[in-house]
């Protein structure tokens, strides 16, 4: 140990730019040895107020102005001041170069933790996970956000803040329904966007008029009552449909819809990979900093402080604890990756039985494969092991409003593993979490009203916001909007909310 003493980078809790640079150099080298593939890093040191700014703009480094971000800021500020919450140690942006914000309040061990976590963990996940590769374009996002910000503020000057705010309000209400789930969106680039935007404006207007003008040519409504459905297939991307088809919408409003839609799409992968992304980053800060310690770069004191924060991050209160608020994604993700490594390195007979392909394989390759090719839902479905289910003592509760009691449907035993795994996976499936609502039909001949179809899942009804969201949609559409609820088997549901 003594021979390594000279390696120690620093032994106080104070940080400085030079120290950050030296820690980063070592962390970077270790990450490289482990085969992490990352975008170049840009580390930005900020103070707590700037961190709250970053919070309130949901992690967009520059966003258009909207009251809801102000609300978010006030909320965060209030809670932070009262001491009800600490601020995150870091925020990281999926961009190229990958921007990570470090708080000035952090001690040196914390800064090192954050560098390992964000600049190498999250960063490599952003760069290599298939969802991010498919749906986001890290090179262009900053430019696009800048374009969006300028465009919105131009609109405000031309049309007034209230008008713009109203459109954005409505779009935000539908933001989660502004993503393509299956289609691959074309890449976005700011220059092309602003270049094409004018063109699109004019072109769209002619297209729309065309759509409506075709209707009354032949009056033979009785012949084809069924065929006339528009869109011919139900459309899941409500904002996309509005942008392309809303009859009387001015073109600048269409562009606003598009902006919100694009941003929603950019965040879509993050919403689907929370467990994996945090788990991956946590696994790597843990592994990298331990390596740093083994190589003698950091002191025992450093490790104690690091382990204390690490433990805080991955704490999972039990279901009956007053602090319990659902499953901690950090805990689940971190433990799954750690467990995966264990299965590779020291497989038990049970592991060999459950994971014949990976038991005993090279752990780095296996983890890399898992990181690249899955999202939360499939990751859990594929890799949650019986051993981890036992460790976390997971159990499944069935809540059926037709029963007068809750039922424990499975626990951590032989007969329950598969059920727990399936239910947990489903819990992270966005399409199960959000109600299935699609645009079903437009009444082209009559009042131009828009019909939405909600397909029930597990008989779960819509929440009480529904009618308000529908009003937002009809504000964008310009004509009445109806929502009908369909049972899972396709039959009409009578007591649909309105």
């Amino acid at each position: 140990m003594n021979t390594m003493k000279h390696n120690i980078i620093s032994d106080t809790s104070d940080w400085s730019s030079e120290l950050i640079q030296r820690y980063d150099a070592e962390i970077s080298r270790i990450a490289d040895d482990y085969g992490l593939d990352t975008y170049p890093n840009q580390i930005e040191i900020i103070n707590s107020e700037q961190m709250m700014d970053a919070y309130s703009s949901v992690g967009m480094p520059l966003g258009y102005h909207h009251w809801s971000f102000g609300k978010q800021f006030l909320e965060t500020e209030q809670r932070y001041r009262r001491g009800q919450m600490g601020l995150a140690y870091e925020i990281v942006i999926n961009s190229n170069p990958c921007i990570s914000y470090l708080m000035e309040e952090n001690s040196m061990p914390m800064q090192a933790l954050v560098i390992a976590h964000a600049c190498y963990g999250h960063n490599s996940f952003f760069k290599n996970n298939y969802l991010f590769q498919t749906w986001t374009n890290a090179d262009a996002i900053i430019d696009y956000l800048l374009f969006a910000k300028k465009y919105v503020s131009n609109c405000e000057q031309q049309h007034g803040i209230e008008e713009v705010e109203a459109v954005l309000d409505s779009c935000h209400a539908l933001m989660n329904y502004g993503v393509d789930r299956y289609k691959h969106p074309p890449g976005l680039s700011a220059q092309e966007e602003s270049g094409r935007q004018k063109e699109r404006e004019e072109y769209l207007q002619t297209q729309l008029n065309h759509l409506w003008s075709t209707i009354p040519v032949k009056e033979n409504a009785d012949d084809v009552p069924e065929e006339a459905r528009f869109p011919s297939e139900p459309e899941e991307n409500l904002l996309y449909f509005i942008e392309k088809n809303a009859p009387l919408m001015e073109s600048w409003k269409r562009e606003l819809v598009r902006i919100v839609r694009k941003i929603a799409q950019y965040f879509y992968p993050q919403r689907q990979t929370q467990v994996m992304n945090e788990g991956w980053a946590t696994f790597w800060h843990y592994t990298i900093l331990n390596t740093l310690y083994d190589e003698g770069f950091v002191t025992d004191g450093f490790m104690i402080e690091f382990l204390q924060s690490h433990t805080n991050v991955i704490t999972q209160p039990a279901f009956d604890s007053p602090y319990y608020s659902g499953i901690n994604p950090y805990t689940l993700g971190f433990n799954m990756f750690k467990d995966l490594r264990r299965i590779c390195e020291n497989p038990t007979d049970e592991d060999k039985d459950w994971f014949p392909d990976i038991a005993g394989s090279n752990w780095r390759e296996t983890l890399d494969f898992a990181m690249r090719n899955f999202k939360d839902e499939s990751f859990i479905r594929q890799f949650l092991s019986p051993q981890l289910i036992r460790e976390l003592r997971l159990f499944s509760v069935l809540d059926d409003d037709e029963q007068d009691a809750l039922e424990i449907s499975a626990i951590h035993d032989e007969s329950g593993y598969r059920h727990i795994r399936a239910v947990l996976a489903k819990q992270y499936d966005l399409s199960m979490r959000e109600p299935n609502i699609q645009i079903y039909n437009v009444n082209l001949r009559g009042d131009r009203s828009l019909s939405l179809r909600h397909v029930l899942q597990g008989r779960r009804p819509l929440n009480k916001d529904t009618s308000e969201v529908v009003r937002h949609l009809s504000r964008l559409w310009g004509f009445p909007v109806r929502i009908e609820t369909i049972n899972e088997d396709g039959t009409e549901n009578i007591d649909a909310p309105d």
Binding site: I20, I408, Q427, R460
Partner: protein, 419 residues
């Protein structure tokens, strides 16, 4: 290659615009909250920010989601004694056992609370009062500071060097540093002269001469002025005006002054107070309420206790005069008075009031403002006060029916002190 950027220096208040948007959007709710706050605040405390609560249903942003009910399976950690097939009673408040739902915004709290800054608070307060912009900025402005000499410091800019002080210090230092060498020099010189007298030991003489030269060198190399000696004139920031004022609030509390009138009167007093805080460092407020007799009371009683009976305004004026004579000599105090009333007075008393003001009170005062709030019709008091107004330039009166008519009363006050 990692790039490290320190962003702390730039980009403060990046959310300021979004904050303004938020205030704008909830203007009605905030205005009401501010108005409530003014009613419950003491006059002297009006100059602060305020915690504002807005019903969170107003700030809620709706999204599609699942409501409670239906059939759902959820996974929880930390099983202790359950086995599959166990049935447990449904917890009282859970529609759907899952903890993953309904965590969207700050639900569970009925109010959205945040802090309004002092500037924002006053902006909302001024809104109804229709103040000109210049006046608004003057009132919102924080106290001016002026820099005052405060001794000497060892650091500063060259233009602030105090030469005499620095050179005195240098002299002292030179003497102090020279002392050991001088003493030694004296000894050596004495020994040398002794030797020279005896005329012997030439090598020792040489040594001593060498020593003397060395010591003299030492003494001359002590610097004349060292950076250590420099003294700079030190200046500190002190609030500029240190004068004091007393503000008399006079109000009729007879039965005809109802809550609405009192509320308006309160705004009138607040405004006067704010004006005065800008000019005077130390302000005392004296509350005098009266019906047929007058009494000095605290603010709480002034606004909120009710009495009935007739009205004799002169009783209040007499009490004010008495208090001025006893506690506020005009040599030390600037005296302001504001009177609010609905105009009722016992007819025979009004001439008294006029004489009291003209002869005794007005000469002592900086300014007297009288507002008549929602009068039924002007009575004798108004007419007699008009007489006072003609004779005294520092007297002003106004009849107000709505809140935006308060400000003109102060116009004159401001015309005299353009800043």
């Amino acid at each position: 290659m990692t790039q490290i950027i320190d962003r702390r220096i730039n980009g403060k208040h990046k959310s300021a615009v979004n904050r303004q948007r938020f205030l704008r959007r909830f203007r009605q709710q905030i205005k009401k909250a501010v108005s409530d706050a003014i009613d419950s605040r003491s006059i002297t405390e009006v100059d602060h920010g305020e915690k504002i609560n807005i019903p969170s249903k107003d700030t809620h942003e709706p999204v599609f989601g699942h409501g409670p009910g239906g059939r759902r399976d959820a996974i929880h950690p930390g099983n202790k004694e359950f086995v599959s097939g166990d049935r447990i009673a449904r917890p009282p408040n859970s529609g759907g056992g899952g903890g993953s739902e309904a965590s969207n915004q700050g639900e569970g709290e009925d109010e959205f609370a945040f802090q309004l800054s002092r500037e924002e608070f006053l902006a909302f307060f001024f809104e109804g009062l229709e103040l000109p912009d210049l006046v608004k900025t003057q009132l919102t402005k924080v106290t001016n500071f002026k820099s005052v000499r405060a001794g000497y410091s060892t650091t500063g800019v060259p233009s602030n060097i105090d030469i005499v002080r620095s050179l005195t210090g240098a002299l002292a230092r030179r003497i102090a540093l020279r002392a050991p060498y001088s003493a030694e020099l004296k000894e050596v010189q004495e020994e040398l002269s002794a030797l020279q007298n005896k005329d012997e030991h030439t090598t020792r003489v040489k040594e001593l001469e060498e020593e003397i030269r060395r010591l003299e060198d030492k003494i001359t190399t002590i610097p004349f002025v060292d950076t250590f000696d420099l003294r700079y004139r030190n200046r500190i920031q002190k609030p500029a005006p240190t004068t004091q004022a007393v503000m008399f609030c006079l109000m009729d509390v007879s039965g005809s002054m109802d809550e609405i009138r009192k509320e308006m009167a309160k705004r009138f007093f607040i405004l006067l107070y704010l004006f005065l805080t800008k000019t005077y460092e130390n302000i005392q407020v004296v509350f005098i309420r009266h019906h047929t007799t007058a009494k000095e009371v605290n603010e709480e009683d002034f606004f909120y206790s009710r009495e009935t009976g007739g009205t004799v305004v002169s009783s209040a004026l007499e009490l004010m005069l008495k208090i001025i004579k006893e506690r506020f000599p005009t040599s030390d105090w600037n005296i302001y008075a504001a009177q609010a009333s609905d105009g009722d007075n016992w007819d025979g008393d009004s001439p008294n009031c006029r004489n009291l003001l003209n002869d005794n009170i007005m000469p002592l005062l900086q300014y007297f403002a009288y507002v008549e709030i929602m009068p039924h019709n002007h009575q004798s008091l108004w007419r007699h006060y008009e007489g006072v107004k003609i004779q005294n330039r520092n007297f002003d009166m106004q009849s107000i029916d709505t809140i935006n008519e308060i400000y003109p009363v102060f116009r004159k006050l401001f015309a005299r002190k353009p800043a």
